[in-house]
């Protein structure tokens, strides 16, 4: 084993080399490749899918009904790379594809709808691609492209983000049900505020119009009445720490009569925690903060006792998606929604440290 | 004039007042234009000619006064409105598209269409007809406008404005300042043709010769007030100039005396020596010597290589042959900055594009080159700046309300003086003045010529470039003549104007 000092030098050297590479790229002005997160994730091996008895070749795949993973060429339209959850989601697709031996064509839409639609067309026209996986940036307006894809005989699977389109235009949707997450969150918030005299909650909304923001908010509202929670203020924080902080900060100047904060993702929740601390209140005690996604940052905040609950939305969806794709390729019928595995993590959990250590993202 | 029959008046402007922040630009000015006359509008720089035209064409609204068009009072709201009333203006800077064809320029916005696309053939024949009918000129309308001379471009602009608006009133603002004699004649032909068709033309120019050649009446304004309107045939040149500058012109006589004086001051010390200096494609290798206290004139037609020679000497371009020695030291590094540090400066031909920095104040414009010579960090203090500015405002008699006036609010002649001040502030040994008197009024012109000679008297060396041969001859001790990008002759002492003109034409 190297001495710590030697390691330090090595690291410094690496850092330097790293910066040099970056600079040389900067000087030549070349575009960077998409970065892959470093975490070596090993997703669970997907269970083998038995070939279905009723061959219903809906798609034009040559191998139907005996397709193997190696026959699949998947075009994956990712939304972008906006945070830890998305990075883990992307990594899951890349790594699982390698393990299963299928071909993955990855397309980064960079949070630009126009780019995403262009990418979709690209995959439709690509003769190799037989499965298109879409993590949609918008909920509406997909009918025409989906029809095109259907005519071209592509299997379309929606991942993570649900869209408003006739169900026969896609094979299935795999992902969380945001409304259900919202309902779970309301139940958790009720538990947190049990015994509290007032139950005033502020809501930090994600990007206005995104399905996650809409459905989480709606789900929460469905259940919050059961224990008398009222939402006093609601504003968008655009999924970001900075804006989550700014919004909470502005509210706290006006009134400090708040018992809970319902942040629609962890980042905004972390921002709210910063604002609460600055206002001289104790997050986790004076104000309970609840957020979504269960990212690493959220776990750290929970371990510090500042974040109360995070509702998980599993990013490792690839095994389920690929399994569904294979099933569809072989003519199998799938339900229109395959829910992903989700969980609720609370700061009160005595095993929190172990859970945090064991998490892959 | 008031008792005159007004029925033949196209325009009658009465009691026009217009003030700008800090300046009364027009005060109670009257102006008439008759059918079928060419009316010259004269005045020094900053007299108010431009403002009067701006009021007439709707660019500016008068503070008071009225405008009668064909006897009816109108209020001109905008240039577009003026056009719709039949008032068309062609400016010195042509505002057409040089990269479109002549035909497109004439008919842009009303192209003949065929099946939803432009009918090109018809477009071209129509444009050709228009040019022939209105101007009596026949050119290839499918070539781009930019490929024609400025004169043709100006005529195309006239044709366009007359054709579109059926204008009865045409305003020509300094149309001839960049035209050759021949081109000017061409333009005058067109003007006479239009006049015979009843169009009233307002003609603004600095060229007194041209005024006498073409105009019927002259209106003179000075300092925003009307001096008077006169029939051209009854007003002598001397009277006109006296009315324009408000004092009798003795400056020119003085100058000749000064010139005779300065000859004595030429010390013979060689300050600039060019040997076989040239740049391929721009100017052929030439020799030139310049002595302290001497003014050397560069004569030649436009495009003869005058400006190119000046650019080489000033270091705007790097020569590819020959050598240049300034004050005994051979020049290695060619750049404006290096030249300024050597004491050689150039007042460029294009005052607007390369001379003034129009949004800066008079003070900042004056100290700009001096500061550039001192570098970024040796900042000239505000107080020092003001001293320098005041000194030159006083010395060159720059008409400005204060040193902090924005330079673009000054008239052309005063802007030119500001540029001269900028160079004088660097205390140069050699001044190259490229067209320092272009587009400025007689009074200021004489002042600048006088200044050049007095600089020489102080031991400075000057290269004086001008399109006006008389001016070059009046100011210079020695004249170098250029033709077709080549130095063809050099004359000193008393020379016959004809001799120089022949060599300018390349006949010697």
């Amino acid at each position: 084993m190297k001495s710590p000092e030697g390691e330090r030098i090595m690291l410094r050297f690496k850092t330097l080399a790293y910066l040099l590479i970056v600079f040389s790229m900067l000087l030549t002005g070349c575009k960077t490749a998409t970065a892959v997160p470093p975490t070596a994730t090993k997703p669970p091996a997907p269970t083998a899918v038995p070939p279905t008895d009723v061959p219903l070749p809906k798609t034009g795949l040559a191998c139907t009904p005996n397709c193997k993973y190696s026959d699949l060429v998947v075009g994956f339209l990712q939304t972008g790379s906006e945070g830890g959850w998305r990075a883990a989601n992307t990594a899951s697709f890349k790594e699982t594809a390698e393990q299963l031996g299928l071909t993955l064509k990855f397309y980064d839409s960079q949070n630009d709808l126009a780019k995403q639609v262009a990418g979709f067309h690209q995959f439709i026209q690509d003769p190799e691609v037989n499965v298109i996986v879409l993590a949609a940036l918008e909920t509406t307006g997909w009918e025409d492209v989906l029809k095109e894809a259907q005519e071209a005989g592509k299997i379309v699977i929606l991942e993570d983000r649900r869209i408003d389109a006739p169900e026969d235009l896609y094979v299935t949707y795999i992902g969380s049900d945001f409304a259900e997450e919202g309902r779970k969150a309301a139940v958790e918030m009720c538990k947190l505020l049990e015994g509290s005299e007032k139950k005033v909650v502020w809501e930090l909304v994600g990007n206005v119009g995104s399905s996650a923001a809409k459905d989480r908010g709606q789900g929460f509202r469905e259940k919050m009445g059961e224990c008398g929670i009222t939402i006093a203020k609601s504003q968008t924080g655009n999924w970001s720490i900075t804006e989550g902080k700014q919004v909470t900060e502005a509210w706290l100047k006006e009134t400090q009569d708040v018992q809970g904060i319902f942040a629609q993702n962890d980042e905004m929740g972390l921002g709210a925690i910063e604002a609460i601390k600055e206002a001289g209140l104790k997050p986790g005690e004076d104000v309970k903060v609840l957020s979504f996604d269960a990212t690493a940052g959220a776990f750290k905040a929970m371990l510090a006792g500042e974040l109360s609950v995070t509702v998980e939305c599993n990013p490792l969806l690839a095994p389920q998606v690929y399994e569904a794709a294979l099933k569809a390729a072989n003519g199998g019928e799938l339900p229109k929604w395959v829910p992903s595995q989700e969980g609720v993590f609370s700061a009160d959990d005595p095993n929190l440290q172990q859970i945090a250590d064991g998490r892959k993202y | 004039m008031a008792d005159k029959d007004t029925s033949d008046l196209l325009i009658s402007m009465r009691g026009i007042n217009k003030a700008f922040p800090g300046v009364q630009a027009l005060e109670n000015v009257d102006f008439d234009l008759r059918y079928g006359e060419i009316h010259a509008l004269m005045g020094g720089n900053g007299a108010g000619k431009s403002t009067l035209i701006k009021v007439l064409t709707g660019v500016e609204r008068p503070d008071s006064g009225k405008i009668l068009l064909l006897g009816k009072e109108v209020s001109v709201k905008s240039p577009q409105h003026a056009q719709s009333l039949g008032i068309s203006t062609v400016y010195q800077e042509i505002n057409l598209c040089p990269n479109l064809t002549v035909a497109e320029n004439i008919l842009i916005g009303r192209e003949p269409m065929k099946w939803g696309s432009i009918h090109w053939k018809k477009l071209n024949t129509q444009a050709k007809e228009i040019l022939l009918r209105i101007l009596g000129i026949d050119i290839d309308v499918t070539r781009t406008l930019g490929s024609y001379s400025v004169a043709i471009q100006q005529m195309v602009a006239i044709a366009r404005s007359l054709e579109i608006e059926f204008a009865k009133i045409l305003i020509l603002d300094e149309p001839t300042s960049s035209l050759s004699t021949h081109e000017t004649e061409q333009l005058f032909g067109v003007m006479r043709k239009l006049k015979s068709e009843g169009v009233g033309i307002i003609f603004i120019t600095h060229f007194i010769d041209q005024v006498y050649k073409i105009s019927d009446r002259i209106t003179v304004i000075r300092n925003g007030t009307l001096v008077g309107t006169f029939d051209t045939s009854t007003l002598s040149r001397m009277e006109l100039i006296t009315k324009m500058i408000g004092r009798s012109i003795t400056v020119l006589d003085e100058m000749l005396k000064t010139k005779a004086e300065t000859v004595k001051h030429i010390r013979g010390e060689n300050v600039l020596q060019a040997r076989e200096l040239g740049q391929t494609g721009e100017i052929e290798p030439f020799d030139l010597d310049l002595h302290a206290g001497e003014v050397v004139g560069l004569a030649g037609l436009m495009g003869s290589g005058r400006t190119e020679a000046a650019s080489l000497l000033f270091g705007l371009e790097t020569p590819d042959s020959g050598s240049l020695t300034i004050a005994g030291k051979r020049v290695e590094k060619f750049s404006p900055n290096a030249s300024i540090k050597r004491g050689l400066v150039l007042s460029p031909e294009d005052r607007k594009a390369a001379g003034i920095v129009d949004d800066l104040s008079v003070r900042e414009n004056i100290i700009l080159a001096m500061q550039a010579g001192q570098g970024w960090f040796k900042y000239i203090s505000r107080q020092k700046q003001e001293e320098i500015a005041d000194k030159y405002i006083h010395l060159l008699d720059i008409a400005t309300p204060s040193a902090d006036q924005i330079v673009k609010n000054l008239s052309g002649g005063n802007q030119q003086k500001v540029i001269l001040a900028r160079w004088l502030a660097t205390n140069p040994q050699v001044l190259i003045l490229d067209e320092p008197t272009r587009g400025i009024d007689v009074g200021t012109k004489a002042e600048i010529q006088k200044l050049v000679l007095s600089l020489a008297e102080d031991g400075k060396a000057c290269i004086f470039i001008s399109s006006e041969l008389e001016e070059v001859m009046r100011c210079s001790h020695r004249i170098a003549v250029l033709c077709d990008r080549k130095k063809v002759a050099e004359y000193s002492g008393e020379v016959d104007q004809n001799v120089i003109m022949h060599s300018m034409a390349g006949e010697l």
């Binding site: 900067l26 960077t32 | 300046v23 925003g224 800066l360």
Partner: protein
């Protein structure tokens, strides 16, 4: 030429570059005074000032820093679209220098502990700051070289780094969002000494910029180059070096803004830090009266006020409780109103009003 009669004092005020930004700010604050209770209340918490007004200034500090550099660039007749991306690069470089272990996939336990040790930094803070600022300045230098020496249009030249910069930032941190635990670093964006520390930083940069531009000839040269670069060149001004200086300084300002932004949220968030802030910075400069695309006369202080105006709009919206979906539209309306104040027509109208008022005895 005769002088018209008017009082010079009032005209001097209305013609000052500071007049319109200040008027706008005053109008927004007046609106807050009427509609938002407690908006102007400033309390003292732990010896520090605490209140909405302070929030406005503190949250504006990143844009204020950017606007200082942007003012100089716009004054030369250019624009720098890359400042947001340079902020992200700066944040990433700083985060990496403080804790490169975050990127390692496997670490011995004694190093693992360092990852969220609030007292640990890999490089001392001063090195972190200096290296980060050097990197940011090099980014600006790169823009300057492209604009001044390669003669690429400023918008195109800086677009290159705007697009590539965020990629570079993600590459530096290997696509990971690095949480910054080192406590002293947080002082840059979160520290208080009666006023937020970031405001002292803004004041410091402003004073430096002011000295550079107004106590040397550089300011005059920048204006001259912006108004007419040919005349400037003929006058012996080295317009290329002036542009290079302006862009480099703009990069430096973006670097400092990157430090503030990342320290404020204690994260190097290559994707979100500085996102669209280049537009806010440009808007701030425009509100400050420096003309985009033409350049010339500039006022650093007016740009700073412009930055505060933008933040005041946002904070006011939060405080008033504008619905999330209406936020952008209302912001847009306010900006249109502000920009209208800058049209010559509207200004002429206001001037006429003031002159008429003066005329009355």
């Amino acid at each position: 030429m005769k002088q018209t009669k008017f009082s010079p004092s009032l005209r001097k005020i209305t013609e000052s570059k500071l007049f319109f930004p200040t008027l706008t700010l005053a109008l927004i604050l007046l609106f807050d005074l009427i509609t938002v209770p407690n908006f102007f209340s400033i309390q003292i918490r732990n010896g520090n000032l605490y209140g909405s007004l302070i929030d406005i200034f503190r949250n504006a500090s990143a844009v204020m820093l950017l606007s200082i550099g942007m003012t100089l660039v716009i004054a030369t007749g250019g624009v720098d679209l890359s400042v947001g991306a340079v902020m992200a690069i700066a944040a990433s470089v700083a985060a990496l220098l403080m804790n490169p272990y975050v990127l390692a996939t496997e670490l011995p336990p004694h190093l693992m502990k360092l990852i969220n040790d609030p007292q640990f930094t890999y490089q001392p803070l001063w090195i972190v700051i200096i290296v980060t600022l050097i990197v940011a300045t090099i980014c600006g230098l790169w823009n300057g070289l492209l604009v001044a020496y390669v003669r690429i249009q400023p918008m195109v030249a800086t677009l290159i780094l705007m697009i590539a910069g965020r990629g570079i930032a993600q590459l530096i941190t290997n696509g990971v969002r690095i949480q910054i635990f080192y406590e002293p670093y947080a002082f840059i964006g979160q520290g208080w000494k009666i006023l937020p520390f970031s405001l002292y930083l803004v004041a410091f940069v402003f004073v430096i910029a002011w000295i550079i531009t107004r106590r040397t000839a550089i300011g005059l040269f920048i204006e001259s180059v912006g108004i007419n670069f040919r005349s400037s060149y003929f006058s012996g001004i080295d317009e290329k070096k002036i542009k290079l200086l302006a862009y480099s300084f703009c990069g430096l300002c973006a670097g400092i803004a990157g430090l503030v932004a990342s320290s404020n949220i204690k994260t190097s968030d290559a994707y979100n830090i500085g996102m669209t802030l280049e537009l806010d910075a440009i808007l701030a400069v425009v509100i400050g009266g420096t003309v985009m695309g033409i350049g010339g006369r500039f006022s650093l202080l007016a740009s700073l006020i412009g930055a505060v105006v933008i933040q005041a709009i946002t904070t006011s919206m939060y405080a008033i409780g504008v619905q999330a979906f209406a936020l952008q539209a209302i912001k847009g309306l306010v900006v249109i109103f502000v920009i209208l104040l800058y049209s010559e027509q509207v200004r002429g109208f206001i001037r006429k009003l003031t002159v008429q008022k003066e005329a009355k005895p």
